[in-house]
Amino acid sequence: MKLFIFCIVLFLLLTTAIILNMHYIHSIIDKLTYLTESLPESIWEYQSSGEKYKKPIEEIYTLWDKKINYISYSIDYNRIDSVDLAISEIYVSFSTEDFNQLLLSRQRLLDSLKRIRSLESISWLGIF
């Protein structure tokens, strides 16, 4: 009976931890998605007022750098690498004013974030 109660408690604790972790990762991903989406989708806007977007790009970089260790506990390293690469590319291509690359990396980052969010959700897609 003691073992049964212990297992029930452990099972509930783990389930709660998984759900809390899922919500926390969602909040990070949502924030990153919001910041990435705030970057414009046309080269012209970067060329006309490029400095305006320096701050959100640095925010994306800093946020990811701060959370990457926690995220890597529960997310496939391949997915983390793809986000890591896309953020680095955005950061570098903005500095070198390679806006074509920046647009490509922006889209790649959005796709990777979307994929991580769906995999970290309790859904049929998450299972399969």
């Binding site: 009976m1 073992l3 049964f4 297992c7 029930i8 452990l10 099972f11 783990l14 389930t15 998984i18 890597s72 506990y73 529960s74 997310i75 496939d76 390293y77 391949n78």
Partner: protein
């Protein structure tokens, strides 16, 4: 799953064992997977296994839902051919099981039951059943189990405690059997009627 062996596992236990072994190796064999991908499902499966086992003992419905029920293969001396086909057991296999139970002729069997763990229980017809003390109206004292008090010259403390025998009793008993050194004893066993079995060590003469 405790001390039970693979052959004695229930279906859910077998499935969980296979899943556990596969899950545990995932983070080891694939370096792209975080360690938690292996640890969390393993703990969850173990918890589920204990919960399911507990519910099976408490609820008959859960028990029959998760475990197979025994199947009668020979019913009152009549071979149930449909049950054999259903359980995918050939007649050769059944005869082999009967031989392993000391029965040569199938007509000597009154019941043969395929148990949940896959073993076949054989109950012979009364005429072929071995004679026991009760049949002869004999009264025999219960001997209980035999406790090994000394193994390879060493006193087994747990057996000594359960029998309530001190070291002096063991040494005196050995002396009565012509053994003056405990190291010369291979086995000294006592049953619950104080009947002693003593085997001296073979010194390779």
């Amino acid at each position: 799953m405790g001390k039970r062996q693979i052959g004695e596992m229930e279906l859910s236990e077998l499935v969980i064992t296979l899943l556990l072994s596969d899950l545990a190796t995932q983070p080891i064999t694939n370096s792209n997977i975080p360690l938690l991908y292996g640890i969390v499902p393993v703990i969850i499966l173990l918890c589920l296994e204990v919960i399911i086992s507990f519910l099976s003992t408490k609820s008959y419905f859960v028990k029959i839902l998760l475990s197979p029920t025994p199947t009668v293969l020979i019913n009152k001396g009549v071979l149930d051919q449909k049950a054999l086909v259903k359980m995918r057991i050939t007649l050769d296999e059944l005869l082999s099981e009967l031989r392993q139970n000391g029965i040569i002729d199938i007509s000597d069997v009154y019941y043969a039951i395929l148990e949940e763990n896959g073993k076949i229980s054989v109950i012979p017809k009364t005429a072929n059943a071995p004679v026991v003390a009760k049949d002869l109206n004999l009264k025999r004292a219960e001997k209980g189990i035999i406790h090994a008090l000394v193994i390879d010259g060493k006193i087994i403390k747990a057996a000594q405690k359960s029998l309530g025998k001190d070291e002096k009793w063991i040494i005196d008993t050995a002396k009565r059997h012509g053994i003056y050194n405990l190291k010369d004893i291979m086995l000294l066993a006592v049953d619950e009627c104080d009947e002693i079995t003593i085997i001296k060590k073979d010194r390779g003469k």
